[in-house]
Amino acid sequence: MALPSLDSPSWQSPVRAFAWGMRSVTSTVLTLVLFATYLGIGALAHDTHFSLGWVLASTVLVWAGPAQIILISTLGSGATVVQAAIAVTVSAIRLFPMVVSVLPMMRTPQTKRRHLVLATHFIAVTLWVECFRLFPQVPRERRIAFTHGLGIGLCAVCLFATALGYGLAANLPPLLGAAILLLAPLAFLLSTARNCRQLSDVLALVLGLALFPLASLLNTGVDILISGISAGTIAYGVHWWRERA
């Protein structure tokens, strides 16, 4: 599926931009990855005795796969609400730099913060990657409506997958579980690699992969944050040095 050209009349109404956002759900393999991940989350919730309504509500409200897996498995293993909240909070820190880097691409001088609240809620790995890929083909003043369409479309797919996984839980073979868990790192790696725009992005990806095993030796509980900030800063440093030279 190709989006219409930037000066096409189909971008003139926000409703049509919303519809193009929804249709873009079918243009990415990440939709399949999300589908499989949420199939797994539905099955996990069933096996840990959460209700169907609860796990569907978590898909809408939390909207971050890894956070939901952590939430369900920590609560399911008998941890307290406070312990679960801390584990989820640490895993969610990555959302902050994602939101900060995407929002300036959605804004126009007329945009108020409240216009961005719903779009901000939808930002997680998939939407972050897709915004960088698709926004150059979407006129700036239609990007918020487009994001709402894409976010609601992806959320609908995930709700369906959550319910399906919940229903099928007892019948999923274990090898499928391993295949589903391998999908996320494969797809995240390849989609990030394809989106790398400049040297700093490539370096951040490579160094981020390489530094995590070292940081994990520290066993701090925020290892990902330590390796991420150091790798990102080194990558930026190289970029800065080359720009100057």
């Binding site: 804004r107 913060r113 901000t120 391993a178 390849l190 800063t233």
Partner: protein, 114 residues
């Protein structure tokens, strides 16, 4: 409705331990990122950090695999990702081909190892 969701305590747990810990970071990003200029150098750094944190998440799943993935031997897990990346490069950066290639190597390896 209460049958479907569970009691109000279950919903409260979801809000306190699931919704708020995620939404706090998103809304902080909205508050902070609302004023950053698109072409600014700060954003290059922020994007590099976001990319590197995501790379850390990828590495964590591979190095310290959760659940059923732990049943796949280390060498096979890394091999599958390297194979997926090779297919991705050979197919002019097709994510779909790369993902399928990696999964096929993992499933084939598991089958072959028995």
């Amino acid at each position: 409705m209460s049958e479907f969701i569970g009691d109000w305590q279950a919903l409260l747990v979801l809000v306190v331990a699931g919704f708020l810990p995620n939404e706090v970071w998103r809304m902080l990003g909205l508050w902070f990122g609302g004023g950053v200029d698109e072409g600014s150098e700060l954003l290059v750094w922020v994007r590099a950090v976001a990319t590197a944190i995501l790379a850390g998440v990828i590495a964590q799943i591979l190095v310290l695999p959760p659940g059923a993935l732990a049943s796949v031997p280390d060498g096979l897990r890394y091999g599958a990702v390297v194979a997926g990346f090779a297919v991705f490069m050979l197919t002019r950066r097709s994510i779909f081909a790369g993902v399928v290639g990696g999964e096929v190597v993992m499933l084939g390896g598991k089958w072959w190892l028995g």
